[in-house]
């Protein structure tokens, strides 16, 4: 099925990962998130590195 037509929880492996780490069974697993803008810039057009993200990074 085309990517954008998939249900949100089945779009990719990361959506399953998000579901599992949110679930009661795995909620005890400590999670460190690499922050967008601060630690990683993603290739996603204007959403990859936003003004808000840049401002937040400079405030850290």
């Amino acid at each position: 099925m085309e990517w954008l037509k998939r249900p949100i929880h089945m779009q990719g492996d990361q959506d399953v990962l998000t579901a599992l780490l949110s679930s009661t069974e795995f909620a005890h697993i400590p999670l460190k998130t690499l922050r967008r803008s601060k630690h990683i810039v993603q290739f996603d057009g204007v959403w990859g590195y936003t003004t808000a993200g840049a401002a937040a990074e400079s405030a850290w």
Binding site: A19, K32, R35, I40
Partner: protein, 141 residues
């Protein structure tokens, strides 16, 4: 630490080499000649195919295979990631139980926020916690 890009144009291997001396295990298809360009002192090509796993499923399979092989830490880096500085401080001193993932981009059409654990709900899993953002699997570790 085992860090391994999934195989592609060679960017992660080469950019990792420029920023720190961390060892890199690169899973690749041996038939792709461009992979040979990744050969630096700390890059070792893992030419053996995984026992199972393909496409996006390759990530957990590759990570599990390296953990089973005795690596204490494994960080997967997608092949389209450019490393611009030494990444080891991001992972330094983390407890071995900690799972690392990246925030997803904030694109509105990609549903950045997970709401009240809606992905878990849609999989009919009970929600144990609500994450501040949905996760991106480009650099799990």
């Amino acid at each position: 630490m085992g860090a391994f890009p999934q195989g592609g144009p060679g960017k992660p291997g080469s950019s990792l080499s420029r920023h720190g001396d961390q060892p890199v295990l690169s899973f690749c298809q041996p038939s792709i000649s461009s992979m040979a360009k990744w050969r630096t002192p700390q890059v070792r090509l893992q030419a053996n195919r995984l026992r199972k796993g393909y496409s996006w499923n390759v990530k957990p399979q590759a990570i599990m295979q390296l953990l089973d092989a005795g690596f204490d830490e494994v960080i997967w880096i997608d092949s389209d990631v450019f490393v611009t500085r030494d990444i080891r401080p991001l992972f330094h001193a983390l407890d071995e139980a900690v799972f690392v993932a990246t925030e997803h981009s904030c694109s509105l059409d990609r549903y950045d926020h997970d709401g009240a654990g809606r992905r878990a709900q849609l999989w009919q899993l009970s929600v144990g916690r609500v994450l501040p953002a949905s996760l991106n699997s480009g650099v799990p570790g």
